[in-house]
Symmetry: C2
Subunit: 206 residues, 2 copies
């Protein structure tokens, strides 16, 4: 009787562009009346995991909690958009198993570009040794082996990444292409990657 | 374009009948195609709050987490059914404020009846001093000052409590009376409280 629920899971280094893309996807799906919620890593840390640290155990438990909430939202036909570093491959695979309708988006961006963006000034602090267990600097990041979608935020505009994601979701039959205006005037393969070199600072660093 | 979300919040002593009623309401709404999820106190402790204890702070944080998840589910048009002791009035009022569409059900049952049911054998342990901070024994329970619904599980059958709850939800316009079979053959005031005395052990103790 209603939309099929699913979870879009953005994983990537700090400042790779996860939250920005999550908001863009949210906006696009919201506009057409789909029921969508963003579970942002920072907010979840505050709301569900204040007690947890950034050790491997702390991170794993945090991801388990996010996966549980995403599962509930998905189960009732909602769209959960997760934006969380989620550095461990195994944690993400467990989330996929638990949630079922799970679309993993690897927000791929080279570390030097993320460091230059440094949206929250945390790379600077991590490099100074003021933050321990910082992913990419003093803590590992395991890129997905076989993500459903890869976006290259150092090479594509946010709008291009957005279209790539929406096109894949339509291809997976989560909604018809005709529903989303971003896809309506495009050819079946709508991804036009701008090959104009690095897009440092622009517009991702905002 | 779809159902209006809301949260039904069951509060009451251990063994008062919260989980039983939550499951009955879930079943009734599920049957007619509404999107409904039960957030049961025990499961939430395991999934979101393993780290928290049963001090006042631990309980308050646990309720804040449940309220956050219920808010997300409600926001996307789902029905969240919370079954949690939630002993503090102020915590429940904060949940109401945060969630908005919030229906508080006081599962009212005298302590001696709850102790006799003792579904999980915890009153016994608490009385022996094997469990600390046990609500009703060694920890306070603050009944709601002005709940939306009161069910008297020592005097009503589960079916009568269920009808009372469904009737109130229909009255609040969360769904039409005609949708739910439990209400279809009833008069506008469908609550028929069985005044046959205490229903100890039957069928609540199952």
């Amino acid at each position: 009787m209603r939309q099929k629920g699913f979870t879009i899971w953005f994983t990537g280094l700090p400042s790779s562009g996860k939250s920005t893309l999550a908001r863009l996807v949210q906006q696009a799906l919201d506009e057409v009346g789909l029921d969508v919620v963003v579970l942002d890593g920072d907010e979840i840390r505050q709301r569900l995991s204040k007690d947890l640290g950034f050790s491997k155990e702390g991170r794993e438990e945090n991801i388990r909690r996010i996966a549980y909430v995403a599962k509930l939202l998905t189960k009732i036909g909602g769209i959960a958009i997760v934006a969380a570093i989620s550095p461990y491959r195994e944690s993400r695979e467990r989330a996929r198993m638990e949630i079922g309708d799970f679309v993993e988006v690897f927000v791929d961006c080279p570390l030097p570009v993320c460091m230059q963006r440094d949206v929250k000034g945390l790379y600077l602090k991590a490099n100074r040794g003021e933050i321990q267990n910082f992913t990419g600097i003093s803590d590992p990041y395991e890129p997905p082996a076989d993500p459903d979608i890869i976006v290259r935020t150092d090479q594509e505009s946010p709008e291009a990444s957005l279209k790539k994601i929406l096109a894949k979701l339509a291809e997976l039959r989560y909604f018809p292409r005709s529903l989303v205006k971003h896809l309506v005037n495009d050819k079946p393969d709508p991804v036009k990657v701008k090959k104009t070199g690095m897009m440092l600072g622009q517009p991702w660093s905002v």
